[in-house]
């Protein structure tokens, strides 16, 4: 398991570790996989692609890992994805790994991604936004690769829904003064704002948006997941709309059981991880944690189905992962999960929801079967 604990990936790495530990504990408590217990060996690539590749190699060749999982940054997971066929080892990306290219361009026989990313979520939320609020939108985004791909995804999404991005505002990464950018937003001539900022930039941008009352004048789309804020949404994000396969206050019984198990597991984790996630009382899995959890649960299901006993059964495991279908239940508490056998990109039931104080109000449910495909890659 490649779990990053570098400062820029601390939240993702912590969620990944807690949820992996939880999923593995549940699988092992239920008898393991075909009578064998799962064992996780963690390695920290420190948000460096070459380190992720080296450690992936080390985990397989030195520690005898049967399957590789994780690597948070896109460059890391794309590097490990390229390593998987060379090692002839199944690789599942988990929390993070937002690059569409993983399954849209450079897919391969050994690599899988369980959770939807990029346009798979953006197209739905763009469609909802245009149909609900109007056609003309502004966007603020971090001016580097991730933000630019978000910009392109929203452009495509708005266009597909009959809307358009009429005001595009790139903000340099790590910009401390957001005022000049936020005050550019023409609240009178757009129907809403897409906030595609991430990390500390997101926090600063949201505060500036609140300071200039833009969140009271316009609907804001893009930001979701209280795990990114230590388990508590800041007031500046109130009324924001986003899309996620998991809701932190869902009332379905599987989610409720999952959230309780998450809190119990968190209490067993090292203090550094607990602190990173906001403490045992506030921490939630959110979509970052849920991706980690559902990835291991999906792997466990595929291992059981393929009667996996070790690397010699890799071909059988690949076949099981390609045709993976999990209905909503304890292994997939947020909703159904479907794997696309051609590009190895999964789809999960997703929810467009609005932040309402600390609550998340569901506005639309997108069944797994209706989550759009990205690209036309053929995993061979």
């Amino acid at each position: 398991m490649l779990a990053d604990h570098a400062p820029i990936t601390a939240v993702e790495g912590a969620e990944l570790q807690v949820n992996t530990d939880l999923a593995v504990a549940e699988i092992n408590a239920a008898g393991g996989v075909n009578g064998r217990k799962l064992r996780v060996v963690y390695a920290d690539p420190k948000a460096q692609a070459d380190e992720a590749i080296n450690l992936g190699q080390q985990l397989v060749q030195q520690h005898g890992a049967d399957v590789l999982v994780g690597a948070v940054l896109s460059s890391e997971c794309l590097g490990v994805e390229n390593l998987a066929p060379r090692l002839k080892t199944v690789y599942l990306s988990s929390t993070g790994c937002a690059a569409e290219d993983f399954t849209s361009k450079q897919c391969n026989r050994y690599s899988f991604r369980i959770s939807p990313v990029g346009r798979q979520g953006v197209l739905s939320v763009a469609d909802y936004s245009v149909k609900t609020y109007g056609k003309r939108w502004a966007i603020i985004y971090p001016d580097y690769a991730l933000g630019q791909s978000q910009l392109n995804a929203y452009k495509a999404g708005m266009q597909a829904a009959g809307g358009e991005l009429t005001q595009i505002i790139p903000i340099p990464q790590n910009e401390t003064n957001m005022t000049p950018y936020i005050t550019k937003i023409k609240t009178g001539s757009v129907d809403g704002l897409v906030n595609a900022e991430v990390g500390a930039d997101l926090t600063r941008a949201s505060k500036a948006i609140e300071q200039f009352d833009i969140n009271k004048k316009l609907p804001i789309v893009g930001v979701f997941g209280k795990e990114r804020f230590g388990g508590v949404y800041p007031t500046s994000l109130d009324r924001d709309i986003g899309v996620s396969p998991e809701l932190s206050d869902s009332d379905n019984r599987y989610e409720a059981a999952y959230h309780k198990a998450f809190r119990d597991q968190l209490a067993k984790e090292p203090a550094s991880i607990v602190t990173t996630l906001g403490g045992t009382t506030k921490a939630v899995p959110g979509d970052l944690g849920y991706v980690g959890y559902s990835t291991i649960k999906a792997l466990g299901t595929a291992m059981r189905q393929s009667k996996f006993t070790g690397r010699d059964d890799t071909d059988k495991l690949i076949a099981a992962l390609r045709s993976l279908r999990i209905k909503q239940g304890p292994d997939s508490p947020g909703g159904d999960l479907i794997m696309n056998g051609s590009d190895h990109q999964g789809a999960q039931t997703s929810y467009i929801a609005r932040i309402n104080g600390q609550k998340e109000k569901v506005l639309r449910t997108i069944p797994a079967a209706q989550v759009p495909r990205i690209g036309s890659c053929q995993a061979k």
Partner: protein, 366 residues
């Protein structure tokens, strides 16, 4: 009689010195060959992982060697070797993305591209020195870091770029299985080390060292300071470029960090820690620091802190690097042995009451 003795002694001294020097060279050569043989044979007997780790160390030791040659011998602190290294690696990836899979073409193109980049640094070596040169190389490397983002469609942007062609691009040698690729790396490393050693011990190398220490005096003696600086920059660029080529083959994936400052600074650290004045210093520095980082990384999330402490200790206690420190320690031990032997002899002479005027001499203390 007295004149005759005086005439004989220097002749015998020179002969002793030559013999000792020849012996040292032979011993050094034998040790280098034994080291190379051990490097080739031993890891291969320890399964799959050790040769691959050593492969990585060897790849990163080459740019460190390049830094060592520029900084240690030409006295130019270049923090741009990472740009040469990364550019060569990207050249391989970009070419394979466009269907160029011939390993010889890739090797030539990659090293050629690296030399072109190092040509830029060679220009800096002509127009600037000292802090100005350091800043120029630093700023250029920062600019190179942005190239993959600037040419995202071409170079993969932040996501990095895959090297296509599987083992075809590495002469049929699989970097992940077998020892063939590791041996190729050993060969390339040995080639650059031997060639560097030959050049440094040649007249050309000695001139380069003289220019590094006092360019004005070397210039006054008629040597082309600019020409030598350009030469050493291009030569070390070729070494760093070959490392970039091998990196791309070994990892089959390149990404923007390869071009950036962190790698460049690491190469400087490897060479300084290992010993910038010695051929093997950067190699030992690269292997030692990378191993330390990996080992600590497995045991603590704060590995960089401990690596930093270790670096401070080494820099403070061993300003000439590990090899320089070992050599100094060896000299001290040798001197100490001689002094002890002197004391024993003096004591023996007193005991035996040697006649006045007799002298007992040995070694270099005659």
């Amino acid at each position: 009689m007295g004149a005759g003795v005086a005439a004989e002694r220097p002749a015998r001294g020179r002969s002793d010195r030559e013999r000792r020097s020849r012996n040292r060279r032979l011993l050094g050569g034998a040790a280098a060959l034994a080291g190379l043989a051990a490097l080739v044979v031993v890891p291969a007997a320890y399964g799959q992982f050790l040769p691959q780790r050593l492969s990585d160390y060897l790849i990163f030791s080459l740019p460190a060697l390049a830094v060592g040659l520029i900084a240690g011998h030409a006295r130019l602190i270049n923090v741009g070797v990472g740009a040469t290294f990364g550019f060569s690696a990207y050249t391989v990836a970009i070419l394979t993305q466009h269907g160029v899979l011939n390993p010889f073409v890739l090797m030539a193109a990659s090293i050629g591209a690296g030399i072109v980049v190092s040509g830029l640094f060679a220009v800096y070596a002509v127009v600037a020195t000292g802090l100005e040169y350091l800043l120029l190389t630093l700023l250029t490397t920062s600019a190179f870091f942005s190239l993959p983002l600037l040419f995202k469609g071409f170079a993969g942007g932040e996501n990095g770029l895959r090297v296509n062609g599987a083992v075809d691009v590495s002469f049929g040698l699989d970097p992940l299985t077998g020892n063939g690729f590791y041996w190729l790396l050993c060969g390339v490393t040995a080639f650059w080390c031997a060639l560097s050693w030959y050049l440094l011990t040649s007249r050309m190398g000695r001139v380069m060292v003289a220019i590094g220490r006092n360019p004005e005096r070397a210039s006054a003696m008629g040597y082309s300071v600019r020409g030598y600086r350009v030469g050493v920059t291009l030569y070390s660029g070729a070494i760093a470029a070959s490392a970039g080529w091998l990196y791309a083959l070994a990892h089959a994936f390149v990404f923007e960090d390869l071009l950036g400052l962190p790698d460049s600074v690491n190469f400087v650290l490897y060479s300084l820690i290992g010993g910038v004045d010695y051929i093997l210093g950067p190699l030992m520095g690269a292997a030692g620091l990378r191993y330390l980082g990996e080992y600590l990384g497995q045991h603590t999330a704060q590995s960089q802190f401990y690596v930093g402490i270790a670096l401070l200790v080494v820099v403070y206690l061993l300003p000439a690097g590990v090899i320089g420190g070992v050599r100094r320690l060896w000299e001290l031990m040798r001197r100490s042995r001689h002094e002890k032997a002197d004391q024993v002899l003096r004591a023996g002479r007193r005991d035996r009451r040697l006649p006045a005027g007799r002298r007992v001499r040995f070694g270099r203390r005659r």
